[in-house]
């Protein structure tokens, strides 16, 4: 390694992980891309932060990032929450790559809980942090059984959950981590994104990678892959709608956060995607 690169990465190998580990993760990624939606086991490493904080996503990002990349990190749509700030700083320190908050400028976007409102384009890579990769886990606790169910594409059980929702609430109440079928074959958990973001997965021009650190699984959605959210013919999949607009930028078509402003119950609705909201307020020079 050259002296410059060493200074940039603060004494660590480029992107923290050693090269052997990165190669191992890349092999898992290639397999995941070749079999869309299939959960590939990988030898996940201990990372310098706790499970649940994005260890899976960080390992995937570390394996694919190069010196010319431009990284954006979002947490619940925001570029400036703790998780986003610390992961962005982690990579700035260990790789020296450029970082950005603008979706359009980024080549790699690591995310927790959201897909940006700005349409992704070919060449961009989304990296998701996944807490529990197995979509059938709450219905069937045994890993041996769920693996067999995937092998045989035996997904009737997932419909039992949707049936229960409708029988009890009159509609499908699953609001995030809404199960999807990938290319008509594998059932996949899209990480805890709101179901509002599910349509953005369908035939997206960007590559989507999913890393689960605690469970040590990687799965992927190659560009332009058909993604179908599960539903019943007479209870079709729908996304959330708000009666309000964003009170900052006036957007009527983005995912809104409801924020309690004081102890008298005043509420405010604003875009969850901060970059999108800022971009609408002050159009930046191209």
């Amino acid at each position: 390694m050259t002296a410059t690169a060493e200074r940039l990465s603060g004494g660590y190998n480029f992107a923290y992980l050693d090269e052997q580990t990165k190669r191992m993760i890349r092999r898992a990624l290639l397999k995941a891309v070749a079999v869309p939606g299939y959960q590939v086991p990988f030898a996940g490493r201990e990372m310098p932060l706790p499970y649940g904080w994005g260890t899976g996503g960080i390992q995937v990002t570390a394996s694919i990032i190069g010196p010319d990349d431009r990284l954006k990190v979002i947490d619940q749509g925001s570029d400036n929450t703790t998780n986003a700030v610390s992961i962005r700083r982690f990579f700035a320190k260990t790789t020296g790559v450029a970082v950005t908050t603008r979706t359009a400028d980024a080549t790699v976007i690591q995310s927790r809980h959201r897909i940006p409102e700005t349409s992704l384009r070919a060449g961009q890579i989304m990296v998701f942090q996944v807490p529990i990769p197995e979509p059938l886990r709450w219905l069937e606790p045994r890993e041996t059984v769920t693996r067999r169910m995937h092998a045989e594409a035996d997904y009737g059980l997932m419909y039992v959950k949707l049936y229960e929702d409708i029988a009890r609430m009159g509609r499908i109440t699953t609001a995030y981590d809404y199960p999807v079928m990938i290319h008509g074959r594998y059932l996949m958990r899209p990480s805890p994104i709101p179901r509002f973001d599910n349509p953005k997965l369908d035939r997206s021009p960007a590559l989507m990678l999913f890393g689960a650190g605690r469970e040590k699984r990687i799965y992927a959605l190659p560009p332009h892959t058909p993604v179908k959210s599960l539903d019943f013919d007479d209870h079709p999949f729908t996304v959330e709608r708000w009666s309000q607009r964003c009170q900052r930028c006036g957007s009527a078509d983005s995912f809104l956060d409801e924020i309690v402003m004081d102890d008298r119950g005043t509420r405010r609705f604003v875009c969850s995607d901060t970059d999108y909201c800022d971009g609408r307020l002050a159009p930046q020079a191209p």
Binding site: A151, E152, G156, V160, Y163, E164, A167, D233, D234
Partner: protein, 258 residues
């Protein structure tokens, strides 16, 4: 009754290590026929039932099943995925303990609807109508279909399990002690129900029981097992009224007469 048997079990042997739980068992079952398998605890009755539908792996023999398409398949050598599809579509299973056959965390309607959702039903209204229809058939008030099975009595749970087994309109139903653990009056009602359903639907059934009264009421033919072997078989009344084998005689004579 057609000339072709629905199920043909030939020299079926299941070994657990050195011990054979089921030894060289053969029988045929025709459409619409109810066969009772009786014998003491540990005689291999339940193992036989599990081996027929592939829940335990047999060590030797064949289980030839004539599927709805008319083709005969050996369930022992069928690939796993195909076996599962076939068993799910055409063979119903009723466990002794309803807790083994039901999902206790989801409603009675979802329990009944699960097999048809697994088979590909994707229209909520239809699934619900079908579930309500079968709940009514087993005498559960469809108004209670959104309740959890845990809220039901033992007899109701057992009837719910039967609805779940019948909802795919199977051609063969395997029942493991369907009346076990129920009190006598509930048993009688359940037997009435089973007798009516098998007659009306033309179901073929294998009923494992240690209760000769159940066998007498439900079954056309009977198979007596001991130590994994079939020691006597024949028409139910014939076997129970004129038992030939010493063990069958003992079994028949030990029934409490009230």
């Amino acid at each position: 009754m057609s000339d072709e048997p629905l199920l043909e079990v030939q020299s079926l042997t299941v070994r657990y290590g050195e011990r054979a739980a089921c030894n060289d068992v053969s029988f045929s079952l025709w459409p619409g026929e109810v066969l009772a398998v009786v014998g003491e605890s540990g005689s291999g009755k339940t193992t036989l039932l599990n081996a027929i539908c592939g829940r335990v792996a047999a060590s030797a023999g064949a289980v030839r099943f004539r599927a709805a398409d008319g083709r005969v398949r050996d369930l022992r050598t069928l690939p796993e995925a195909e076996l599962r599809r076939l068993v799910r579509a055409e063979i119903g299973f009723v466990h002794q303990n309803p807790r083994d056959g039901l999902r206790l965390g989801v409603s009675a309607g979802a329990n009944t609807g699960e097999p048809i959702m697994a088979a590909g039903a994707r229209y909520y209204g239809d699934i619900r109508r079908t579930a309500a229809f079968w709940l009514e058939r087993v005498e559960i008030d469809p108004a209670r279909m959104d309740e959890l099975p845990a809220m039901f009595s033992g007899g109701m749970q057992q009837r719910l399990q039967i609805a779940r087994a019948l909802v795919t309109k199977p051609r063969l139903v395997l029942m493991d002690e369907p009346t076990g653990g129920l009190d006598v009056s509930v048993q009688a009602k359940l037997l009435d129900l089973l007798r009516r359903l098998t007659a009306e639907l033309g179901l073929a059934a294998v009923v494992v029981t240690h209760d000769l009264g159940v066998a007498r009421l439900l079954a056309h033919r009977i198979l007596v097992m001991r130590n994994g072997r079939v020691i006597e078989s024949g028409i139910t009344d014939q076997v129970l009224d004129d038992p030939q084998h010493a063990y069958t005689q003992l079994l028949v004579s030990s029934v409490l007469v009230t």
